[in-house]
Symmetry: C2
Subunit: 212 residues, 2 copies
């Protein structure tokens, strides 16, 4: 990450702001005070002011926040004012689940192709998207089709090799579902989704840390 000014905690909170602002926009609400926004989102008013000040602060004393404006700003900050072309690597069960998700909820994230090394799967389709040959087409495809994001759904053992290939081909972001901690150049962004980690945190909390 080149820009470290804004803490990761703030960035993690932005999608939540965006979600509530989108909802308010849909209800044709024009403005909101930081107090009301606080009650809605569940962060303190001072937390909200602090968070939004990171980006120059869009509130006006005695007026509150203009919802349309704030939404657009947060959208822009998150890089959601443009579309993204994606590919997915690994057409197994996990890849299929993620494909299903992206096809239905991907918004501006367009899944263009799926790559796989298993010859039994190459040439078939997953949710209408053709499965291509990982070894032959991957690099060319990324370059020609202006692919910015790759979703890694490979197994843990091959995930780093896949990441190396993707980085060499000029990928800008990796959404990693493989249970591996990837090493990539500084210029490439990585977001890990380790679903089982989340499930394990749930079972911890259910058991209330009894052992601790």
């Amino acid at each position: 990450m080149k820009n470290n000014k804004i803490s990761n905690a703030v960035i993690r909170r932005l999608p939540r702001y965006r979600r509530y602002l989108l909802e308010l926009k849909r209800q044709n609400v024009e403005k909101i005070s930081s107090k009301d926004l606080s009650e809605l989102i569940g962060y303190t008013a001072s937390q909200i002011r602090q968070d939004l000040n990171n980006f120059g602060g869009f509130g006006q004393q005695g007026y509150g926040y203009n919802i349309e404006l704030l939404y657009n700003e947060i959208n822009g900050i998150l890089g959601l004012d443009k579309e993204y072309n994606m590919i997915l690597i690994g057409a197994g069960n996990l890849g299929h689940a993620v494909t299903k998700y992206i096809k239905n909820y991907g918004e501006k994230f367009n899944l263009r192709a799926i790559f796989e090394v298993n010859e039994d799967l190459i040439g078939k389709k997953l949710e209408g998207i053709t499965i291509r040959d990982d070894r032959d087409e991957l690099e060319d495809y990324i370059k020609k089709e202006n692919i910015e994001i790759a979703i890694i759904c490979s197994n843990r053992e091959s995930a780093q090799d896949v990441a190396d290939k993707l980085c060499a081909a000029g990928i800008k972001g990796i959404w990693n579902f493989a249970l591996a901690d990837l090493v990539v150049p500084e210029t490439v962004a990585v977001e890990n989704v380790h679903l089982s980690d989340s499930l394990f945190a749930l079972s911890y909390h259910m058991n209330d840390g009894k052992r601790a």
Copy 2:
């Protein structure tokens, strides 16, 4: 959460320790120094000592950590020394994707039934699991079948109603994939998986916070 002694940050790191320890166990490694563990996992040695001290500390001066012992302890702390019965609510695309994931990677988390209100889906199967009627069977099923965890894959609008029903039926944990922030009694644990939030964090980092 009743027990607040251990910070959420530590709990989030435990699954990662578990993952690496499992790998070492598989390679028949018996012990490891905190320095070597540090190089492997990517946390500092002092971070590791601090984290593990939260649970009584399992290292011995001049010996390091016994892998089997540490793995078992972390497993126990995370509540992974037992099995869990789960149900899933919402048999749409998201529910199907999560079902696919759990059936293949759920380890000790057993998905026993799927519930849905859409009559076109009730009675059909998803990955071999029968889709049941949400309105008629949900509460009874949870009680009779000793269901501890519910996965919510409903739409945003109905997620809170679903959560209320689940809590009334005595559910202990909710793995929430719906884009809603649920309000539940203190005794019920909730883990949210907002996949799009993770994708938005990725696009933020790819764009390097240019607007900020």
